[in-house]
Assembly symmetry: C2
Homo-oligomer: 351 residues x 2
DNA sequence: TAGGCTGACTAGAACGATTCAGCAGCGGGA
DNA sequence: TCCCGCTGCTGAATCGTTCTAGTCAGCCTA
């Protein structure tokens, strides 16, 4: 038997396709008896209801929003920040029956392009059937974002932008950096290392970065703020993508290269937690020998007694969710409050 | 200016729409010069590439797989099992450039239906544009699963089924239950309480369930196995959906109703962890006063020194991922190994 | 009885792309 | 010289639905 469509079912029942459609989507447009008859026939003939693809094409709406988490989808799931963000986001969108599409951002096989960001393959967002998109931990001028804009997909980013036509929900990353910088400066730290994430594959060796290499980084403003508020030198190190493991790798690199500063700042809490692990493994006292500080205040930061900058991650997700499903397309900007949280991992710089 | 489509771009360039399509999808079908010319014109005229909806309708493939996690999407993110499963799943699918669609399962507003499961609204899976679907923590005969089958969507479930036409990746839940039962029996426990999840809203009060009420439960086999291997009585209690909080609620209910057994079995590790918290809050010794045991062996089970039944969650996600994207549609079944992990939360029954 | 209104249903045109069969034109082998 | 096959491109059909603009019969009102 041929595939059942709205047309074949209509033919079988001797009614118009439009009526079948109405039976499913607008019950008030036809008599209850006929509707019952149609639904019964659908059941009997095995018509599974309107096809999603056809429906979406015609209606011009997918009832789904996209989330681009980071270079590798699978990394995101081990990132408490991403999880908490997603929780807030999903609370809002699921309330409206909207689905969430998580898209991979494959690395292009042969990369002869100039910039780092260009290396990622955005076909997934090109082919994705979504009404709106949000990107996390990616700069607002990332190719994926540009493509979304070009495709006419509502875009909500998570970093401050001066463009009044863009929607975003963000914190003042520079101010956050300043908070940490001032705190460390007041404690006498003049030699600081910053742990950043890079989109290097897992297990990459630690390495030192030039400030210029930070361009691609979504959180570059944090480093800028830190630098601004700190009288001493700031070295930038990375151990790979955003994870505890990378924090450990980067910190171990510092230790192995005899570059141990008096304070280590993880650009995210997980990186800072990784630093704590590496230091513990080498029997170094925190904050006696080294101070450690993070950003974001994820749940485990509290457990680990990590000094950090709090931001309302869950709220952020909710706000983004609201903007994503908002039918009125006027761009909106939301700046969320942050606060410095002093805990036990920072102390006076050793002499 | 009118919206750019493949047709308008073709007209502007004086070529056929087919050629535009080929320029994007089959570069070998046209000369490199023309392809360049087309791509350049697209850039200049602001054509964002083929529209996703039209493309999907025509090709009959969405390049996306769906995941139905549980009653509430947002709950799933706080469930380490789901996260680990998703990690494995995403590793596989992102490798193929396939997106993951997380779908909500809204509760229907007015429920006059007979069964519990019927109460959930499956419109999300009806409208979802996906090639395959997997369901987690939901019985294989859940309406959502039935609908997926009817729609001709490949379905991969996570519980054993005798139907040779169905694909699944699962463990032997009954055997897992037996393992726990035998362990507890050998320690002299004759009075056991099982903590189960129900799809009740968050913050529901604890309550006792009849065995008959377990029908809807995906993990009913675990209870059956447990009962089978245990000589004593087994009481079933719930505090709501699968979460630490529910475990606490259910355990508190036991304490408040003077029904404290010698052993508490959480049907998942998070429920067991909740039990541990509730017991600690009441200053009860584990395993001195009460033994506690879980299922699944999530990462925190190890940290909490919780006795449990190990299953390869990450592998499970990977296997499901592979079956989801497998183009050859022959159904496949995968039974994963399990092992009992005795840790510190179980001990001899007190007299 | 004419005119207007309402409720129930329909015809047919989009929506935007992909794909298959096919058709020029051209170079080369026999 | 003839014919074959190849490259590069096109025309038209198709995917399955929804929506707009109706038609039509029946009923109420004046």
């Amino acid at each position: 038997m041929a595939r059942m469509t709205v047309k074949t079912l209509a033919a079988a029942l001797g009614v118009s396709p439009a009526t079948i459609s109405n039976a499913y989507n607008r019950p008030d447009q036809l008599s209850p008896q006929l509707r019952e008859r149609i639904l019964a026939a659908a059941e009997e003939l095995g018509y599974p209801g309107p096809d999603a693809a056809g429906r979406i094409l015609r209606r011009g709406r997918a009832d789904a929003v996209g989330v681009l988490l980071s270079e590798r989808l699978s990394y995101a799931f081990s990132d408490p920040f991403a999880i908490e963000f997603l929780t807030g986001l999903s609370e809002v969108v699921e309330e409206h029956g909207i689905s969430i599409v998580l898209m991979p951002l494959a690395r292009r096989a042969a990369g002869s392009s100039a910039t780092d960001a260009d290396q990622s393959d955005v076909t997934a967002v090109r082919h994705a059937n979504i009404d709106a998109l949000t990107i996390l931990s990616l700069p607002a001028d990332h190719p994926a974002a540009m493509l979304a804009r070009a495709r006419g997909i509502r875009l909500v980013t998570t970093s401050v932008s001066s463009d009044p036509d863009s929607s975003w929900v963000a914190i003042d990353d520079c101010a956050a950096g300043v908070m940490v910088g001032e705190h460390l400066a007041s404690l006498g730290h003049r030699d600081i290392a910053v742990l950043v994430e890079t989109n290097q594959p897992a297990g990459s060796p630690g390495r030192r970065l030039d400030a210029a290499e930070l361009g691609y980084l979504d959180y570059a403003a944090r480093v800028a703020g830190l630098r601004q508020a700190t009288p001493g030198q700031v070295m930038i190190v990375s151990g790979g993508h955003n994870s505890i493991e990378s924090g450990t790798t980067a910190t171990t690199w510092l230790l192995d290269h005899d570059q141990l500063p008096t304070a280590i700042v993880g650009l995210s809490d997980v990186l800072a937690l990784g630093a704590l692990q590496a230091l513990a493994a080498r029997r170094l006292e925190v904050p006696g020998d080294v101070s450690v500080c993070g950003f974001d205040d994820i749940a485990t930061a509290k457990t680990a007694d990590l000094t950090t900058v709090h931001q309302p991650i869950h709220d952020k997700g909710q706000h983004v969710g609201r903007l994503l499903i908002d039918p009125e397309s006027r761009p909106r900007q939301v700046l969320l409050p942050i606060s410095f949280v002093r805990r036990g991992t920072t102390g006076p710089a050793p002499r």
